[in-house]
Symmetry: C2
Subunit: 518 residues, 2 copies
């Protein structure tokens, strides 16, 4: 057995059965070994950012890692932005970066680069396997570490370690699960204080169980529940306890937190402004509000459960009622597009949301839709939704995936459409085509780079505008094998969604939208 | 004057007048400042890998740096692969990475990451400006360092340093040019030895002057001249001294170097195999051959000139004669497609070559075409040609750019087509559509991962194959505003090239090709 075979065998023996791959020469033994391990599914992506984003989406829905196969430092670089998002999503992932043979590195061949330093910036665990005898143990540790600590484990695999014979797999691999760091006392005292208290859920507390526990505590104590701004996977809709998300814009978030005397963090980070703005506070916690960390992102749901059973044993969490908007008519706007989606969202949908400014009313419009999962842009690195939709669809093949994508963001990882088509994934992509980096038009004002209402100068505006030429997403999608339509009215969007939901496989709908930044 | 204005003013004062940008919120003051500095041209790209590749192409043709504007760590990550290529090309470039405000970093907001560590892996110079008063000096040093040492300088600019007022520009900025490290003695002795000697040109010795000097030396001493495998910018064609490039495959390169007793490196690196292969040597220098470094990549052309004037003062370098292939007919193959390009290559063309396996006969077919520049994949990170073509066209607006791209490689940075269209660049892109990662089919055998001729297993083959669905580059190009045609015969390719060369602006030709790997 060579190193590559030991690696793949150890992966599948430990539950890692999908590999999103964009290989090169140094990974050829890994590629060849796929045919010797039937349990491993290889999924080709045409760009590494699709592979890493797909593994993120897979982990969010499967609750376990996928593997990613990347080619040397440049491949890791191409995958880095979605690894950043995965790091912020606290998902498990096993990244295998093929490298030059150990003895070849000293020659500084053209593709030589410092893989280790780049990998450290996004990984919770990094190891370079230096001998074939180590591959199985290193792989097992990579998986165990990813699973227990919910992070990206990166295994750097030199080509000769991959092709050398003499590897063996391990028996009885023990996956060590570190106990979550939970502090019930402070949270319990805050909830008992009678003072205004906010429970902020995040991490693994945004599933139905964690949300129910938080809402039981809130009902019992008068506390308010908020969800972190960008949850990894938020369960919501009819029959699920409803929680409001902390707003993206600091002004709105500050208003949500105003008056709180206690903030209990259950898996959520300390709330801070996404960006700094001149003269405005970065820390969103109001003066005089004490912050109590119940649990970090891993174990937060369980901690809330323990606390709810102690404080509110007989409380039953209220849940959202089934209540959809009626189908609107007329031109597409942020209002009508959201209502169409709220009216038609399928049962058990997985929504991958990168709608940005076009989606500002989606939360409200879909609050009473049938229960669904909502996946968000955890790390702020755009270009996440198309790849994440690929992984989510592979993890949950019996569920419809609705990928809500912005035109600007779509272009970072557009080749994900090809993998959607190749794998026949049941993904409906809506591209909101407002033909601008609309959020930047807003941010340009908010950071004080232009006087309010003055508008950007012509050179600045040219960097925020996506016309001249207009992107034709129908052609682009068809060019990658995904059937597509363009819509401009609510009626057309509704028709197109029905078409996409009814027919198996991927579809894309270009929804031409007005800019909200004016 | 705020930090952003000081930055841009310092750039233009030092000859950096183009900025390839993909900005976000932390760069909004830079974007706004563009309208206050008329000499700076901002060019929007839809993905950071296009911006960094464009700056590489610009530098190759302009001989001076462009600026690149990136958004935090994920933006740098997206641009990393083409920064890797730029590092290997020894081109000057000034990368500005916007970061969170200095006081905001401690909050670990979602987009926080370790920019510095990632930047170090591709940059010869990295600085984080920490106060507005430092911006002008830091920028000047970034440019001077990039210009003198031909590397990527990365300036990390926190948002508050960008928006703070109180910056001043500098007068009398002295650009320090380090003397190149040149050793004439060893090379002179080798050339005088009468023993078989190879002069390997690379770096800045691959322009017409450096080549002429090398060829004069060869004519005078009986030495042979070879060019490094992947030159940054090779001048060639009628009227230019002709040199053969060292082959990509190690077996062929070994044959080229066989029998040499002296190898004089004039800007080229020590020749090594691109990848390691089991049981084969990585070092391509034959046993018993002494290696003499005349000069590194900077100053090699000048060093050859000094040596030629000393050893071969009266020698006149032979040059290639004008000799084009006749226009072929019939199905497109590696033979006919190369001959069509050789027959029709316009005067003073800039060829950006990422044709990979489809282009194996191009060097021969274009050797007698009118003089042109040939730009290659210096660092091996695919996805370079479309972006580099953008920068080359902006640097040399009066010259036609021919971008020879492979279908697999094209998909990494496909949105470069949109920037081609927006900037009305005179670029003809030929996408060789063999619908496979054909080089990997070859490499899979070469690394011994499969028995010769056995062919890959079905799962391996699926990762090397680009069908199911077939990419439709005509639709994709039109979707980004670039007129496009598909061709399948030599006649159609010739017609399409004439159409593309005759009409201003970008065009794309999808050339459907057979796989050469079988």
């Amino acid at each position: 057995m060579n190193g590559a075979q030991a690696l793949i065998t150890t992966l599948v023996d430990n539950g890692v059965q999908v590999c999103f791959a964009n290989p090169g020469t140094s990974e050829m033994h890994f590629v060849a070994a796929l045919d010797t391990v039937p349990q491993m599914r290889g999924v080709l992506t045409l760009f590494e950012g699709v592979a890493t984003g797909a593994a993120d989406g897979y982990a969010r829905m499967a609750g376990k890692p996928a593997a990613v196969l990347l080619h040397l430092g440049p491949g890791l670089g191409n995958g880095l932005a979605n690894l950043h998002n995965a790091r912020r999503a606290h998902v498990p992932m096993v990244v295998v970066v093929g490298d030059h043979a150990t003895y070849h590195k000293k020659y500084d061949a053209p593709l030589e680069s410092d893989i280790d330093s780049v990998a450290q910036t996004v990984s919770g665990w990094v190891r370079r396997s230096l001998a074939v005898a180590d591959v199985a143990a290193d792989t097992a540790e990579a998986i165990a570490s990813a699973n227990s600590l919910k992070h990206v484990s990166t295994l750097i695999l030199p080509a000769d370690v991959s092709w050398d014979e003499g590897a063996a797999t391990l028996e009885n691999i023990v996956v060590q699960v570190d106990p979550a760091d939970i502090d019930l006392g402070q949270a319990e005292a805050a909830l008992a204080s009678g003072e205004p208290t906010v429970i902020m859920v995040g991490g693994d507390a945004t599933g139905a169980a964690g949300l129910a526990a938080a809402v039981r505590l809130a009902q019992s104590t008068g506390a308010q529940v908020l969800c972190e701004t960008f949850p990894t996977r938020l369960e919501r809709g009819a029959g699920v306890p409803a929680v409001e998300r902390l707003a993206y814009f600091a002004e709105a978030a500050t208003a949500q937190l105003a008056g709180a005397r206690h903030l209990v963090l259950a898996g959520a980070p300390h709330p801070v402004s996404f960006f700094a703005y001149p003269g405005k506070a970065s820390d969103l916690v109001p003066d005089g509000c004490a912050v109590h960390t119940l649990a970090g992102p891993v174990g937060a749901g369980a901690a809330l459960g323990v606390l709810a059973d102690r404080i509110a044993p007989n409380e039953i969490a209220a849940t959202a009622a089934l209540a959809r908007p009626t189908l609107p008519s007329g031109p597409l706007t942020v209002v009508t597009s959201a209502d169409v989606i709220g009216a038609l969202l399928p049962e058990r949908a997985i929504v991958v949301d990168e709608s940005n400014t076009s989606g500002v009313l989606l939360a409200q419009a879909t609050a009473g839709a049938p229960a669904h999962d909502w996946l968000t842009l955890t790390g702020g690195a755009i270009g996440y939704a198309l790849p994440v939709s690929v992984g989510a669809a592979i993890a949950a093949p019996d569920r419809p995936v609705l990928c809500l994508e912005s035109d600007g963001s779509a272009m970072y990882t557009i080749s994900a459409l090809w993998t959607q088509a190749r794998e026949h994934l049941d993904i409906t992509t809506v591209v909101y085509a407002n033909r601008a980096y609309d959020i930047l038009r807003i941010e340009l004002q908010r950071v004080g780079a232009e006087a309010a209402g003055a508008g950007p100068g012509p050179k600045a505006e040219a960097l925020l505008d996506l016309t001249g030429p207009t992107l034709d997403f129908v052609r682009i999608a068809k060019g990658m094998g995904v059937p597509a339509r363009r819509v401009g009215t609510a009626e057309e969007l509704a028709d197109a969604l029905q078409w996409a939901f009814d027919e198996p496989g991927p579809h894309l709908i270009e929804a031409v939208m007005p800019s909200i930044a004016g």
